[in-house]
Symmetry: C5
Subunit: 354 residues, 5 copies
């Protein structure tokens, strides 16, 4: 189950534009990594202070500034001053309960996306907010913690494979968002596997908590849905954006990314349909089981209750009960009981009760 | 449970534009407070008569006139005359069953919003209607009773913190609406807590009134939904408004507010999905419980009914029953019964009934 | 329950534009009342023939011609000739199964609305179709029967209170429609009361017909919905209409009326949600009740069936049953039974069955 | 139940524009009837060959060519050649599983509508496809079989009543479509009657097949819905069409027809809501009935099982059972039983079980 | 059940535009077939290397290049170089989990469609992705495996029947898509048959797995829906496309194809409604069955439990039980039992229990 808290009460009453970190705490110091590249050159740097990154802004090369650890809000504020960002942008970077969004501030584009990934050691899902500031020749990304799904893109940058070194920071931003979206498919597959497991388990034996498990799956799919639907709008807005910061060739790739998100949404909706249907199946299985149990009770009761009654009759202590004195009375009585029982069984058979 | 009455029959048949107070009665006299401010100056005043506020209109400073207590309709009518408001505006201020709305009357903007808050002493939710009249250099707010969620904004005005002293009355109106929206998150968190409590309670033991509690939660979420959906339209209309009364910098803040309301709506819809799903779980838990109970009944009955029948047979008083005379007949009979019972248990075990 | 018949088969095969009365029969003669007014003058007249009203058309004053009783189709036809109305308009006036609609015929506007009201003597709901022909300086209204919700407006016209004498026939038409919409709130409150009553009754004892009552409430809400949704479109079309027959000041009032219909729709949708949820609660209450009943049966059966079996064993007539001869055999047997019963009760207690 | 087969596999793999008859077979020869009319003249003709109709095309009068029996595809092909129709039009005429549609081929308009009617002898519903080719001064209609809902329009043409002789072929096409739509109301009324019958039957006694009947009604309503929704689009497209073949006066009538289809759709949706709700009622009635049955079982069992146990105790054969020797032991025992039974009954009464 | 895997994790982390085959493996070598035709000429060729097809591009005739077997990604890459295709197009061709789509790359149009067919030997459904590259005078199609639904079109090309030789490659592309859509009807008919079979089976006897079967049908319909809905958008985009590659006459045929997809969607939605309703019927049948079973149990128990009690009473061993000594006590007792049993039966009859 994806564990997400949407506690926004922390920001209650603060003036808009105040940078507050809403999210899990993190004892580590923020880490600033810079990848500086163009078609021929490539450099990796780790900075101590965000202000040092200003030097890279004036180079002609493309620069990717990645900041891990937004729980230290001072780094957001200092980045805001360094790069001239709007206070609301800083507030949104700090608030990890943000909805995915795209905003055009003329000098830069602001994009917020949710990164979902599955740590390799345990099977837990992690949701992390990634904020992009796309400027001319510079892309700044803010992440909650170290560790992300971008390693393959870093590899490609390093080795110069693919188009990523050639096509500038807007293509880089696209690549990162594409990597995030690709991971949604992985999460969806995991969910699909869980659904199939539960389906098989449900048809086998009756688990008490099937309803609760279905409920949990539903919650996960609801969370995924809330994450991906705004992503579609976001990418659509980027495609239609008239900002010069997104070049025409990148827009073709954005169209492809848009198709991917639509496909994710399609899969989510289909999975959701199936999960909703599962509860109906569970309920009908319960009903069916109930029918079977009550049938057993009814067959046994209906056969033996009349027999027991007959035995009771001949157990009565009346002085004048002629049958009791008959020589084969007992056997006749047993015979009668046998005929009755067989008759009942025949009736049940004809009604297809077993 | 949010307690709201939508009794509009009081206004039945009155000419449109008649100011009638629809809402809870309040014995107190209306209270008029004025905060007069600009970047350098700041003053707080309590007025006896609304007409005295006219002096502030002609000053260059920004003025916030707050009126608590619209149950005294004469104050609405007198405010209408003092500030030149349309009769329909006055009617809407008095009618607290109003839907959130935004109307542009050229000289002023009229905004109606629902303020939800939770009193500190008891845990009850309160819904109060706040009407805004946004004029040039002047903001008039009407509230049902004293007590609101604006104290932090008053504090910020007093101390000159934040942008609120600089950016004029439209930004002030935005700040107040932002404070109201922030409180929706608090209410939602409370609701979310209730949902989680109920979920846990439901899986533990079977409360008779779980269905009724779910129904109450649903009602609350339906009420919240009805309050927030029109708010989104309202803020969207303000953003698109061409009125000169809303400055461009404030519009950027309105976009942020719009995002917040969308987030509230997202949370409401997700909470609603979960609440609707809870009833299904409750029903399936009931069914499961039923299965368990009937299973116990069936196992006990199915084992003992045949045994009782055998006991009944040998309790019959026929004269000629050879088994009764056998030396170990009784023990053979007990043995038969034991074998039968064990056989039954084995069958139930194989069917995984326990 | 609102009783409506939508029998349209009567008009089957007739040429379009044929005036047929579809609706309840009414033995009375149609009644034509004329109110002629401007800011200073006021006159009330009852006419025998519709043709006599032509005189009022040429006066500068505003004229409201109200016709009660459209079951006499000849009056519709004669009104059609007198005022030059399109055959389809006449057909629609006569057919009381009409959907609310607004049509612009350049020289006049044609509006059809449903008036719902609740007669004072009995509690029955009545639905009546009101057709408006709005011409320059003249408003013609057609009603099914005498008796309507317009008395307060007549009173205001007579006494010259409010804006209705000043603002002409378009404002009068708005006032009448506003009166009709106000009554929807009354109907909704009645429905809400019924819903609350049923909710309380349902939680108390189990009424056989709760499902049927919920079904009836649902039918009513479905009918209301069908009546009000087109009304919203209708008023929206009037607001956007470019017809000269609706003046600008009236349009502001129409915007207010539009808000009212949206509020009615909001309430209807909320009521509908609640009614739909009630059936689920009813079903879960039934299930819960069932559980309780079966639990009682199971506890009693499970305790006494084994005891009865023991009694049966010692009621057998085997000659050699050593226990029967023990001095305290009977009391030992009773003790065993007691222990067994208490053990069962303890088990049920631990399973929280009671 | 409306019986419709949507077998389209017959056309599988054929080149587009191939005329294939998809629908029920019909042994009769196609019948070609021509009604030739203008305001003064009127003539009826039965033709043997479709090619003979060409003469009427060059007359100034309006001509209605009606062809019954499209199972003979050669007549469609020959009509195609005679009137110069597009191959796809011919294919659509032949394929009776067509969705209602409107297509503008400049020289002519192509309209496909479903005619539903109820034969007088038996109560069966019939669905028949009617295709219209509207040309200047000429309307060609294709029907599956003889017999339709147009007799009253023929009558009006013959007698010159109404506007139909004056307003040309577009008005004639409208009249025919209006007649078809009027019949939908009849079908809906029939459905409504069936729904009410079933509702009453359901509350009375429990029919085994109520669920199946509800399912059948649902299927019918689903079929009606699929027939009428595209009709609305179709008429809306005709109204907005800029084709010269539809005159302005006819468009006013089309607006009326559009209103009728909206009303049909409203009724269908309302009927559908009610039918869907019926199953819930049926299920809750089943549950209630179950409760009643189980209550009877529980009351009887709970009263008699303890009594039978007491009887069993005193039926034991222990030698030392002091009570058996008491003089009034038997009557004390009976008294005890009576008290127990009454106590049980009192408890059930207090729980309101009966 | 349609068996589809949407495993996209294979492409995870690869640079966009990398051609990876996502889908079932296939040991065969890709097969390249070329059909070269115009109105007079016709030629069929099988090529070894895709590069050889370049010769056909420079001829004036229309060329259809069909490639079976995209599991060998090198052929996609080489086709990309040969025909100058965008890397994203190549990626989409290789990824068989693609959503149906239409993209305009100016020099060529890219279309992805899902082909569903039913192999003749077994009854299994197959889903295969078909990609179209429509260039001037040349159509390239990529299929997953050999075997498709295009044989009849090849036949028509060969024999020169229909319009397909005359109207160029855009008409050919339309024809292929039309053939694919025609097959959807076949699949739908199969589904409809399964639904009807299940409906009949369900009303007959109670199958344990009815719920699971309904679930499977629902999954299939969900899959079909996801396949056809984007197809509608796709064809609509083709119709509205301003590309010169689609001629005006072909657009008329596309309109027809659009109508077909709408009809498929209509049928799917109707089928879906029916399938969803089936579960309700199944549940209500289960409930009804349960009622019947419990009724049998109740009738038998309620009749015999009191009788057994009476027998128990007279089986007690009290010394002083006067009735036991009566001469006809036994017969009186039997009579009493008979009367009691008949009374019970009468009561059940009156309650219409049988």
């Amino acid at each position: 189950m994806i564990n997400v808290s949407n506690r926004m009460s922390k920001t209650l009453g603060l003036p808009p534009g105040t940078v507050v970190h809403v999210g899990d705490q993190n004892p580590q110091k923020p880490k600033i990594t810079i990848i500086d590249f163009d078609e021929r050159e490539y450099g990796e740097h780790v900075l101590d202070e965000i202000e040092d990154s200003i030097a890279f802004l004036y180079k002609k090369t493309s620069t990717w500034i990645n900041i891990d650890g937004i729980h230290d809000t001072s780094i957001i504020e200092r980045a805001g001053i360094t790069f001239g960002l709007h206070p609301l942008v800083l507030e949104d970077i700090g608030n990890t309960t943000q909805r995915p969004k795209f905003e055009d501030y003329e000098d830069y584009l602001f994009i917020v996306v949710k990164m979902l990934y599955c740590s390799k050691e345990d099977e837990d899902l992690w949701s992390e907010q990634v904020s992009f500031i796309l400027m001319k020749n510079c892309l700044i990304t803010f992440q909650e913690t170290e560790g992300d799904v971008f390693d393959l893109i870093r590899e490609r940058l390093r080795t110069g494979k693919g188009r990523v070194r050639k096509l500038g920071t807007d293509y880089l931003a696209y690549s990162l968002m594409d990597a995030i979206t690709d991971n949604y498919f992985v999460i969806l597959e995991k969910l699909g596997d869980q659904v199939e497991e539960l389906e098989e388990a449900m048809l086998g034996s009756l688990k008490q908590n099937a309803a609760a498990e279905i409920h949990d799956l539903k919650r996960d799919i609801v969370y995924l849905r809330r994450t991906v639907w705004p992503l579609r709008e976001l990418i659509s807005a980027m495609m239609r954006s008239e900002s010069k910061l997104i070049s025409k060739p990148t827009k073709i790739y954005l169209r492809d990314l848009y198709d991917h998100t639509v496909q994710v949404i399609d899969n989510i909706e289909a999975e959701r349909d199936i999960i909703c249907g599962m509860l109906d199946i569970y309920l009908s299985t319960l009903s069916h089981r109930m029918n079977e149990i009550v049938k057993v009770l009814t067959i046994i009761s209906t056969i033996f209750i009349p027999l027991t009654f007959i035995a009771g009759v001949y157990g009565m202590n009346f002085e004048n009960m002629p049958e009791l004195k008959w020589k084969y009375g007992y056997f006749a009585c047993l015979g009668l009981m046998g005929v009755l029982a067989l008759g009942m069984l025949y009736l049940f058979k004809r009604r297809k009760w077993f």
